[in-house]
Each structure stands twice: as structure tokens, then as C-alpha cells.
Amino acid sequence: MKRATCPWEDKVRQGPAAGGDDAGLRAHAARCPVCRDVLAVSDWMLRFRDLTLDKMKADESLPAPGELWDLARTGKVIDLVAAKKALKPILVYRKIAWIVSVSGGAALAFLEFDKMKSLLASVPGLDALAAMLRKAGAAGTASPVQQAVLPAALGLAALLFLILATAIRRADTG
């Protein structure tokens, strides 16, 4: 039965590739059919490599190493993945700052509600509007226009708040 492998075949294969030419291994290959095949393929491949390199050397020169180095360095600056990774701590900090600002504002509004109420009461016309709505509500005789004023005012206030919050957020992340 023909032998399929040989314990020396890796040495026979890797020796010539490393530039060595071991006479002992060649002598072994002459006796061993497996290593003879390995050596035949190895010799052929190395000859093919030499011819390939000679041909390529004659056809076209290699790019300059400095050129590739500079190109790689430029690439580093615009490497989006690397840039995102580097900016991650800053983005996280911005999110924390945003959450702290919003929750702080809400806490301030809750704790200082009375002061804010009195401040709003000092706005001209607002006090009169509230009194009119209160009176109409108590009498149950509010006109359709009067009934629409409160939801409209609340909607307007909510819209203004949304616009303000979005603008702040865009300025913050952008």
C-alpha cells in the first residue's frame, strides 16, 4: 500500500521556502515517494515565484513606501469608526448633561411653583384671562370662544416648549 504521509514532509516543504537546501532532506526525498512529490511541488513553486518576481520587477515598480505610509496616516484621520470610538466619552457626557439639565429644571419648577405662579400672575392680561375663565366656569355660561381659549393656550405653550427643547438639544448634540 502506498504511503500517504511522511513525518518529514513539512521540513521538506518549509526548508526550501526559507531559502535552505538541505542535502539530507533531498536524499530522503529521493527515497520517499511522499517527500519526492513535496519537493517537486516546492521546486516548481519556487521557480514560478522567481519568474513571477522577475517579470513584475521588469513590468512595474512598486509604490514608494513613504507614499503608502502617508496615505495610511491620512486614512487614520478620516477613519470614521476610529473617530466615533474616540468621541464616545464626549457623547456620553453630553447625554448625561442633557438628562441632568432637564431633571434639574423639572425639580426647580416643582420646588418653586408658588414663586412661578406669582410671577405669571404679574404678566399683564394673564390675570384677567384667568379670572374670566374662572367666572365663566363657575357660572357655566362660557361662550364657545371662551371654551376654546384654554386648550388653545395650553397647546400653544406645549408647542413653544417643544420648539425650545428641540432647539436646545440640536445645539447640544450638533
Binding site: T5, A40, M45, R49, L51, K55, M56, L68, W69
Partner: protein, 176 residues
């Protein structure tokens, strides 16, 4: 190229490494791809990726293996991306730029046709094993295969390729 240091030092270390490794890498890519334009693109991209991720304190053998791994993966990726095999000789001749190469080829036509008849994966395996002398484990890492698979494929390849060489009259003479 085993020291770590400033950018200038790394640049100085890179130059001799490049001059030693670049010709063989280009030869490998060119022979596996067959298409000179594609080979040039993969060659450049390999070095750019290498320079962006290389560990400067690794040994030259490790760095060279890393570079070959990048190139091998790029070749495989290109192969998978393009469903129709761009590396077959028939397809190459449709590209005027590629078609021009064989006419001014100074290589023995038999050698080229013998190598081109192999599948690209097999060309890559043969080159890495017999020209670069990498171990089965190293080749497996480069090609994204299991070491056992590499061993089996190389065993079959060696047998069939040696038979082809004998059929063409190669194999018995020494290296010229």
C-alpha cells in the same frame, strides 16, 4: 521591525520591511488574482490596513504573516463579492488590460497555465505553503479555515499537482 517608538521611528522601520516583503506579497496577490489591476488595488489596500492596525512590537515573521492574512482575506472577499469567477483565465481575457499581460509574458506558458488551472483558493494555499513556507495553522488563520481542513486540502493538492507536474515533464529535475 521589533521596536515600538515615535511615528518617525516606525516610518524608518517600515521602509526596509516594505522593501523586503512588498515584492513577494505583490507576486502572491498577482498570481492568485491573475488580474493585474485588481492585484494592485488589493496590494495597496493590504498595506494601508496593515499600517493602520499593525503592532510594531511584533516580530517581522508575525508582521509578515499578518500582512499576508490581510491580503488573503481581501482576495477571498473579492472572490465572494463577484459571483462570476473573475479569476478564471477565460474571464481575464475579456478585460483588455488583463488580456495584454499574457502576450508580453516572459514566463513559460506551461507554468502559468498549470497554475491558472487551479481554483483561486488552491493557488493561494499552494503559494502560502510552498513559497512562503507557512505552517498549516498559520495558513488556516490567514484563510479563515480550520488547520485540519488545510492539511487535507494541501494533501490532495500536493498529490494532484505533483501528478500534473510529472505529466508535463516537471518534477524530476532540480531547481534551476
Amino acid at each position: 521591525m521589533t521596536a515600538s517608538g515615535s511615528g518617525q521611528t516606525q516610518r524608518d522601520l517600515f521602509q526596509p520591511f516594505y522593501l523586503r516583503v512588498a515584492p513577494v506579497l505583490r507576486g502572491y496577490i498577482f498570481r492568485v488574482c491573475g488580474n493585474p489591476a485588481l492585484a494592485d488595488d488589493i496590494f495597496q489596500e493590504s498595506f494601508l490596513r496593515f499600517l493602520r492596525t499593525v503592532r510594531w512590537n511584533a516580530s517581522e515573521r508575525q508582521q509578515k504573516a499578518f500582512l499576508f492574512k490581510i491580503a488573503a482575506r481581501l482576495v477571498i472577499d473579492n472572490f465572494r463579492r463577484v459571483k462570476t469567477d473573475p479569476l478564471d483565465a477565460e474571464d481575464r481575457t475579456e478585460d483588455p488590460a488583463s488580456a495584454a499581460i499574457p502576450r508580453r509574458e516572459s514566463l513559460e506558458p506551461d507554468m502559468k497555465s498549470l497554475f491558472d488551472a487551479l481554483r483561486p483558493r488552491d493557488r493561494s494555499l499552494l503559494w502560502l505553503a510552498y513559497v512562503e513556507g507557512y505552517s498549516h495553522e498559520e495558513i488556516a488563520e490567514m484563510m479563515g479555515l480550520r488547520a485540519k481542513s488545510v492539511k487535507v486540502i494541501l494533501f490532495r493538492l500536493r498529490a494532484s499537482f505533483a501528478a500534473s507536474l510529472r505529466g508535463k515533464g516537471y518534477g524530476q529535475e532540480g531547481r534551476s
